[in-house]
Symmetry: C2
Subunit: 149 residues, 2 copies
Amino acid sequence: MRIGELAERAGTTTRTLRYYESRGLLPARRAENGYRTYDEGDLRLIQQIRTLQDFGFDLEETRPFVDCLRAGHPAGDSCPASLAVYRRKLGELDALIGQLQSVRTEVGAQLARAELEASAELPGGPEPRCELGPTAPQSPVGPNWEDER
Amino acid sequence: MRIGELAERAGTTTRTLRYYESRGLLPARRAENGYRTYDEGDLRLIQQIRTLQDFGFDLEETRPFVDCLRAGHPAGDSCPASLAVYRRKLGELDALIGQLQSVRTEVGAQLARAELEASAELPGGPEPRCELGPTAPQSPVGPNWEDER
DNA sequence: CCTTGCCTTGACGCCGACGTCAAGGATTAC
DNA sequence: GTAATCCTTGACGTCGGCGTCAAGGCAAGG
């Protein structure tokens, strides 16, 4: 199997596979003409990588799983190094979820407060001001700031 | 107040303030010698921006709040456009938290399953294999893959 | 006068995971 | 024979939010 077919079967691109190879994951045998050659095991490697990436693992974190598979183990998480990554990730996830929840709470509180103050001014308010609506482009074409592209 | 003092009082850097200016937030008056000049209102602008950034808002999302403050309103979220951003952010946060929680569940399940299988092989297992531990650098210096810098 | 310390603009670097184009070799299809 | 399709390496672009020089102007103290 050559790189194009492997990419298609894995639902990815050849660029991605070459990138994996450049990072030391997914090594490739070469045919006589220099073409990369792959087998079914390589397909499983890629599937392992993509699964973990879908979980939010970055490439470097998938390395223990890949090494484990390439060492002949039945699953990428059959090795202690992979389990260690799982555990670390669980901790990171818990921390992140906690932070996001507290942010959610704070933002929700800010919204509630701002809505209250808005409704306190609108109905019998003295002046009806604040014309900056959500769908207002206000300045026609946009000012001059266009440096530092 | 010049840019250095403002940066220090805001707990940020001059580079950051110039960057904000280049993005159209935080406009600056100029003294005769070309130096940027700021007042207390600009400090509040920056504080508003940093607060939102701490919440995970990106710079572009802070624009309505900044515009609102510069329009003379008492708070950055006194305008409907800001409230709209709040609401959109709440939705994004809920979606993200939900995704992360389901990932957490899945990773937790994978870990539990892998631990089970490991303990089922170890105690009375036939061959004690799998030497790839968490603290093993295995290959001495690392292979040759170092292209695509 | 000279140094020090602020300020100015301009421009490149960084990080991660690739996308995209370029130039050319190999193979296959007609 | 030649066109179409695959493959190769190399290298630059992307996105956000700045960090980090570099080269030079302006003001104040000793």
